[in-house]
Symmetry: D2
Subunit: 270 residues, 4 copies
């Protein structure tokens, strides 16, 4: 496909994307943290919890793409300053979502990796702006994106000059109502055969149910994912957004331990 000149180039090995000390595509990486940054105390507690569980990077939303304009929209700059402090204290690289092309330059000063969310998977202005930036990008699949469309969106970033790109499967929309989305784990091996980019999995949004996240994390790991993105919160029942799908500390620790064990087993299989 001529449309995937850069995404599909196989004249070199699988791409390795450096994010602070981490190398996506080389080792298995767990990004975790709360849906939204709610307060300094909440985030720092979460950050230490993430680090102690053995995860590698901290996520936290400063700008929240909420269906309703009346829902909590995120703390914005204040959240970014808190994330910055969490990085200084814990050493964890920061991953945060950017919603507006105008925000790419200045958010890049706070974040180690910019996330582009499912709702913006074909927001081409934002993709181009992230492609002109200097920060690695985490591009989520749109909830209605075919694999080819997802890679075409990735191509917007690569063709604008930024080669540091990681893909993230987060579930597609189907008729099923028990889960919030249908996590399409076949995307992991499929992206592997269509592209050289690393691909991680977000089972939190992919299922929308805390009770299913551990099983889907292990499944994603065994499918060969390069990492996981997990929502965790010190007190899920008090979360300002998406509390139903955030894992409490003990269950998050168990998840990380088990995913590591599956990953080690999987690595020995090759």
């Amino acid at each position: 496909m001529d449309d995937l000149r850069l995404c599909g180039r196989f004249d070199r090995q699988k791409t390795v994307v450096p994010v602070g000390p981490l190398r996506f595509g080389e080792s298995f990486i767990v990004i975790a943290g709360p849906c939204s940054v709610e307060s300094e105390r909440q985030l720092l507690t979460a950050a230490w919890m993430v680090k102690e569980a053995g995860a590698h990077a901290l996520r936290g939303g400063a700008f929240k793409p909420r269906t309703s304009p009346y829902s909590f929209q995120g703390l914005g700059l204040a959240a970014l300053k808190i994330l910055d402090k969490a990085r200084r204290e814990t050493g964890l690289p920061i991953v945060t979502e950017v919603l507006d092309p105008r925000d790419v330059p200045w958010v890049s000063e706070f974040a180690d990796m910019l996330q582009i969310g499912a709702r913006n998977s074909q927001n081409f202005s934002l993709l181009k702006e992230a492609g002109k930036g200097y920060r690695p990008v985490l591009l989520k699949r749109g909830m209605y994106s075919t694999l080819k469309e997802w890679l075409s969106s990735a191509e917007y970033i690569l063709s604008a000059g930024n080669p540091h790109l990681v893909l993230c499967e987060r579930g597609i929309r189907t008729f099923e109502v028990y889960t919030r989305n249908t996590l399409d784990l076949s995307a992991v091996p499929a992206i592997r055969e269509l592209s050289h980019l690393p691909v991680i999995v977000d089972p939190t949004h992919g299922t929308g149910r805390a009770s299913l996240i551990e099983a889907m994390s292990l499944a994603a790991t065994a499918a060969g994912a390069d990492g996981l993105m997990i929502e965790t919160h010190p007190h899920p029942e008090e979360a300002l957004s998406d509390g139903d799908q955030a894992l409490p500390p003990d269950r998050f620790r168990t998840l990380v331990r088990k995913a590591r064990a599956i990953r080690e087993c999987w690595e020995r299989l090759e």
Copy 2:
């Protein structure tokens, strides 16, 4: 639903949205024109064709949201100047899509109505910016939007201060492959019972097949739509984008004539 405070307010009659001399929600309105503005000659020919067929407003893309970064992306400012000239010559109001929140202010100087497309249906920065603007907005349904989500996106525009909003059903994504999307005409009466906003239908993107557009235009009209949006091109086989779904002049004229007849019949039924 508290999330739809403004969309769902029924303390007044159905909203009427003025666009130049037109009044959406009051009379049946046909917006038509090519997918993209390709040249002054192409657009002016199309504009006269649209006017002579009895349609009411001219559409034409200056910025095209294309799946691939290597596809034609639109002529930008040059296209807007051509659209402006077409309005002066034909008197037709101009509807054009805006993709980037930074473009809302200056595109508003050229267009009579700003379109927000399916891919940006949850681009909240763009919705807010259009909501702060002074131009009426045509908000397409996302290809994965539920009716409630679509209205919630509309709520972003209304709550930012702009009351001049028209909705446009353009098909949702399903498993069917014969058509490009599945046009959900039940959205027309459903929006009518959930909201006071006018709703029009785009059978061009809703089917993606020129051969199905006339039948679906008549169906939309009989479902009670407030108007239609149709792609037409003086020479579809030479179009730079979406030529397969553009109607040639004669078939477009026939469509307008028949849709009018169905509309008149429908009005007499009440």
Copy 3:
């Protein structure tokens, strides 16, 4: 497509399917009646109501394909005897669903037309048995059937020897939750260009909401459908199944009157 040897043969005009005195494909036909036959009184009342509204055939379920084994499963033979009586009294031909290949021969003695429902759209044993029978068949689209698959199921009936086949669009399953299914009216013109078979529309199951049925009936008519299938009940609030989507007598009469007016207008357009 070699798979559609009989469905897609265009060496003759559009097929006309005779059902009692009716001729599907030639004139516009409305089939109506309750979801289930519940009692002689209920059905006879419904039958007269259907006839007086100007509809042409009576539907009523004797065997109900219910999601749960604990839901009302239909009266079986008793229902067929009641339907038979309704035909004798009103003269309306009877359309009823058959679920099991073993029932095709004996149900054919009571019904004028056998319906094969959405859940059995790929029940090939049933399709073949109906194809070997002598009664005309009404084949509903599966809620997950592509147009090609639907026509391939039709091909099972035609290739088994029964040429009397009418198709019925009844909505496909999508992510939308406001409606029970998404009625795909583009199936009407699409089937017209792929096949010679008549196609009618069932807006009752297609929307699952009584409030949307009239608008979708008019839309189906303007799309060129050969008829409608509508659930109506003398007292919807007392129905044993699907009462939410059955129209009461007055609204059904209005629907038939309006659909006829749209049909007449549509016929004059050609």
Copy 4:
């Protein structure tokens, strides 16, 4: 849910379903074999291949539910006799699909387990007949079934008297076109929390691409599936049906070895 009286009863442990010497729900079971029984030689070769790779049961279609009536429909009784011979020679229990309620009694004389396929997931006559039979049943999820509907179909079998039931996730239909279906692995932990029935996974139909099957088998195993169902063929390129998705002997052996390793690791995690 009152609709799932038997499926959802948790007054006892997870159900164990005995099939010959196997115990579904207790140990991890791999069912494998060709899509269709094509000849004695093909099937016996496949059977030994399946056994030598360490799999536990043999699948092979005698009746094939093909979209087109002109496609190979299976060898019927001749296939069942060949399957019977394969059991006698290899000792592997036989799993085969039944399409028609009239076939349940006599097919039960040849098969150790009756499969009900995705297209018949709401063929209630067939479900009831299998529920009255004495053979364990493998019930595949319909390609459009919600989890609740799938369990309701299972309830038809249980309520008819047959407690020996295993569920099989095989992918649902979505807009994605790269894969044949979208394998919904979240069904594995979801069924676990909604029911006591064992659940296995069919990544062959779930992806439709030989290249993705190994990764999805490992993922299913790590998600906690009770087993796998895999299509394998001595010479996939010569298969009469579904050759594109059948694994050749060497790749099948590798898959079984790796799935076992993941399963052992998973068991140690609890």
